[in-house]
């Protein structure tokens, strides 16, 4: 199991949710909230696949956050 903790000040919650939905077919996910972070735990078939999915999940959430912020900024 891999645990990824997304800092709330750096990642937007809806973007993390969207990323999890996007990759939900490739692994099983469990989402929890902490005071300062959105926490995602994921299980995949192999450790290598798990590393790859966790990395892509992080990139996807980061990319969405950046694009959402960009469209919001005046």
């Amino acid at each position: 199991m891999t645990r990824v903790s997304f800092d709330r000040s750096l990642y937007q919650g809806p973007c993390v949710d969207e990323a999890v939905k996007t990759f939900s077919a490739h692994a099983s996910f469990q989402l929890t909230e902490e005071p300062k972070a959105w926490v995602v735990q994921l299980d995949a078939k192999t450790p290598e696949l798990e590393r790859q999915i966790a990395g892509e999940l992080g990139n996807y959430a980061l990319g969405l956050t950046i694009r959402t912020r960009g469209s919001r900024t005046p």
């Binding site: 800092d7 750096l10 990395g55 892509e56 992080g58 990139n59 980061l62 956050t65 950046i66 912020r69």
Partner: protein, 168 residues
């Protein structure tokens, strides 16, 4: 051969195939960090953390596993350069924001062109353009026009022309 440049803010983890970079939040704004990260997400896994208010922590892992120390150092070096570039661009944008907005506004207004006759014909001029309690925007004609005489009011007889006083 000289020793490779060692940065205390950079640490590599060969077992995980990742490199970790500590970024000073006072020097690099978050927008710059986002910009540099966005450039790298097509070839590396980029993960951001904020261990405290003064620092960001960036973890970069090449998508292809098995990167050696030199490859990781090169990757973090490129990221640092991109980060610096983004920070500088962010500062230039911030400094020139007013100029950029003015030029953009003028360009858009110019592209729209002058209003057509039909647009002018349909324009509602009855709206009060602004509040003017002191009557500053009032036209000369409105302000000093002669009052209409009331038709019912008795008309004073015109004084008869008096004779000019005789000269003594």
């Amino acid at each position: 051969m000289s020793e490779p440049f060692k940065n205390p803010l950079v640490s590599t983890d060969l077992s995980k195939g990742s490199v970790l970079l500590e970024v000073d939040a006072a020097v690099y704004p978050l927008e710059a960090l986002y910009g540099a990260s966005y450039v790298f997400i097509d070839r590396a896994f980029v993960f951001l953390e904020k261990p405290n208010e003064q620092r960001y922590r960036v973890t970069i892992s090449p998508k292809k596993p098995g990167a050696d120390e030199a490859a990781l150092q090169a990757l973090v070096g490129e990221f640092s350069n991109e980060l610096l570039s983004c920070a500088w661009r962010a500062q230039i944008t911030q400094a020139n924001r007013a100029v950029i907005e003015a030029v953009t506004l003028r360009a858009v207004a110019g592209a729209m062109g002058p209003p057509s006759l039909s647009e002018l014909a349909n324009f509602d001029f009855t709206d009060a353009p602004l509040e003017d309690p002191l009557g500053i925007a009032m036209s000369w004609e409105e302000k000093y026009k002669k009052k209409d005489k009331k038709p019912d009011a008795p008309v004073a007889a015109a004084p008869e022309k008096t004779a000019a006083p005789e000269k003594t």
